[in-house]
């Protein structure tokens, strides 16, 4: 107990503890764990303004949040009162019952929220989403024009044709990039592309994987055709690398995260020619399907189970301040916000178009993460040309089945 008091006192001193009225919280601890990118920094900064008069607000923004969240929330009392989750991480937390239902808190303090922001599972609100994200197409209109391509590609077949035109015109050797770093990123590219076929990842109602089919083969072949126009180092390209390549003017067509749009268009790190000719558009469709080949993601607020109701309420109120219309207006370009106060901008055009085109959300299934990992490690052999698409798919199936059995999803 003494140690805890010392720590709280220390945190107060570190925060500079300026008393701020206006949040209407009398007491409580707020401690937020989340990923680290500009939109989330804005949210946690907004929540931090509630600190003062018996209320402490601490934040831990880290790329490694996924690795620590389960252990940190399993402790009782939990180390963090809130985790900023997404489609995939919310399921992981729910699997162990680590986040609480927000029905009461939303009814009491969530008056300003849009109904579409509620993430409900089995009728209970488990998270409040505040921003949307998706991978979509970034194009350079000036390069396309020089190569004689008249319009922004709407399908991946068009992307391939445009890449061919750019290459044969001698404009760029490697005009295309996707986030294809082996591991999570590469797995995500497969999932996006497979989504464009409309196929299911699992046999309905079971945890048995179902990607070993004609859709899977076509997906792998499309990815291979695309990386043929990518820099040979593509298996080391994550979203930081593709953004850097884009800003350096080395790419003409890339599938990147919508949250990178603001960073590409921010007037920094790139030349005027690149920025003014960058066009953000919907994720392409392919193979005569209507659904854009991308997955929609949301980021949202969840509240831990293993904390006192008082802390839960304080955390919820503080986080509502973090996603208030004022914060959204002040950081309009940082994300595609779902709350009130947002005006769509040029940087968000791609995500909006992808969602409007009917792209599907990333599946909120307990075993999706296990498949994601299997995809990330088993596809690179095929892309490097050392095995067939059928072999890669049966490897994915076998790797997933072994892992899902260990996780208890398959008996």
């Amino acid at each position: 107990m003494f140690l805890k008091k010392v720590m709280v006192a220390g945190a107060l001193i570190m925060l500079g503890n300026t008393a701020m009225a206006g949040c209407g919280i009398s007491s409580g601890n707020v401690n937020v764990l989340s990923n680290d990118f500009p939109a989330i920094q804005a949210v946690t900064a907004g929540a931090s303004t509630c600190a003062g008069d018996g209320v402490t607000v601490k934040t831990n923004l880290t790329k490694d949040h996924k690795d620590i969240m389960v252990a940190a929330l399993t402790a009782n009392p939990a180390e963090y009162t809130s985790v900023i989750t997404s489609n995939s991480t919310l399921v992981t937390l729910m699997n162990d019952g680590l986040v609480r239902s927000l029905d009461d808190l939303v009814a009491k303090h969530g008056g300003g929220l849009n109904p579409s922001q509620m993430v409900t599972v089995d009728g209970k609100i488990m998270a409040v989403a505040f921003m949307a994200n998706a991978q979509h197409l970034f194009s350079r209109s000036d390069i396309l024009e020089k190569a004689g391509v008249s319009s922004i590609p709407a399908t991946y077949e068009d992307v391939l044709a445009a890449a061919k035109a750019i290459k044969s015109a001698g404009l760029m050797d490697y005009p295309v990039a996707l986030n294809t770093k082996a591991g999570w990123n590469l797995g995500e590219e497969f999932i996006n592309m497979y989504m464009g076929t409309g196929g299911d990842f699992f046999k309905p109602g079971t945890a048995e994987v179902a990607v070993n089919n004609a859709h899977g083969v076509a997906t792998l072949n499309m990815l291979k055709s695309l990386v043929a126009y990518s820099n040979p180092d593509y298996l080391t390209y994550d979203s930081n690398a593709t953004q850097a390549e884009w800003e350096a003017g080395n790419l003409a067509l890339a599938t990147m995260w919508g949250s990178r749009g603001g960073a590409v268009m921010d007037g920094e790190g790139s030349s005027e020619a690149v920025e003014s000719s960058t066009v953000l558009s919907s994720a392409p469709t392919w193979g005569n399907n209507a659904r854009p080949a991308s997955t929609l993601w949301w980021d949202g607020i969840s509240i831990s189970s293993n904390i006192s109701d008082e802390d839960a309420e304080a955390t919820f109120i503080a986080m509502m301040h973090g996603i208030s219309p004022d914060v959204i207006k002040a950081n309009n370009a940082a994300a595609v916000w779902l709350g009130k106060g947002y005006t769509p901008s040029k940087a968000s055009a791609g995500v909006s178009a992808t969602a409007a085109g009917g792209a599907a959300p990333y599946p909120m299934l307990p075993f999706m993460g296990t498949l994601h990992s299997a995809l990330g490690s088993e596809i690179s052999d095929f892309l490097q040309g050392s095995e067939s698409a059928e072999q890669a798919l049966s490897d994915i199936e076998a790797a997933y089945t072994a892992a899902a059995t260990e996780k208890g999803f398959l008996q």
Binding site: D67, D233, L296, T370, A402, A403, E406, G408
Partner: protein, 343 residues
Amino acid sequence: MKNRTFFWFILPSLVAMILFIALPIGSVFIQSLYIEHGAVLKEVKSCGPFGCKDELQIDVVATSQLKQEKPLGKFNGFGTYTNRNHLAVNEVRDAWGSSSNWKIYFSKVYNLPFYRALAFTLTYTFLVTPLVLILGFCIALAVNSLPKKLKGPTIFVSLLPMIVTPLIGSLILFWMIDSKGILGASLQWLFEDPNLSLKASPTLTWIMLIIYGVWHSAPFAFIVFYAGLQTVPSETIEAAMIDGASRWERTRYVILPHLVPLIVFISLIQLMDNFRVFEPIVGFSAQASATSLSWIIYNDLAGGEGTFFGSAGATSVLTILGVAVLLIPVLIRTWNDFNRKAA
């Protein structure tokens, strides 16, 4: 020493060894025998900003009851060890039955994640260890023959690769060998091949990791050998010179035999270290072309969306067994030396 005195003398380190070595290994082994309870799944309606869908979710109440009764999970024996993601007993047997020649058999086994990691780990260990010994010895000989004034600064510079944190060192090199980095661009110019990329081809990635390993570990061998060189008796060397031995002959017949215990020591440490190769694979983003046993453990614990404690435990135990097998020849040699001296 009396048995009683010996016991009290050894007790503190014995307790420390049990607490910090034996117990953790024991707990890892026990963990590796368990898998998670069968998840109780139910179909529920989940809605979000992008619409609603009926999806399977875990029945938290039913599953947590199972967990409370048996927190370790479901006993699985050696099932995790033999499954496809580890020793893959069935897959290896099937590959044997369905392959018409060795080449097909090996390519099928190499397709399995554990054997692929083992192949790189062993190649790395058996190339880096001797190269480190040779290079370290050469540097030590060279530094030893330098004028006194130059020795200090040279030793300092030679030790730098070992001082740099492995992850940082590999990240720095990762950017230098990029096709736009100083080393990558120089190689392209040297070989007149604008498409040459060290990161793209599996073979070049292996070579790059091995060169990195030698670069990083050579200073360790160098400093040990250099210390050893200071203890070579000058009388013997002078006697050899009087007998007309050339520099090569003196090195081969006087210095090397004198340094054998150090060679054994460095081999021991290097075999263990290299078998646990990990940081360069992360630093070089090389997992598409090269994985190691340690990297698999890391990937099970922190790589994806979930943690696989059973898998990580099984690979850890297999790694410990691997280190033990590797060290047996060296340990037998040390044991024999010890007995010879005692006799």
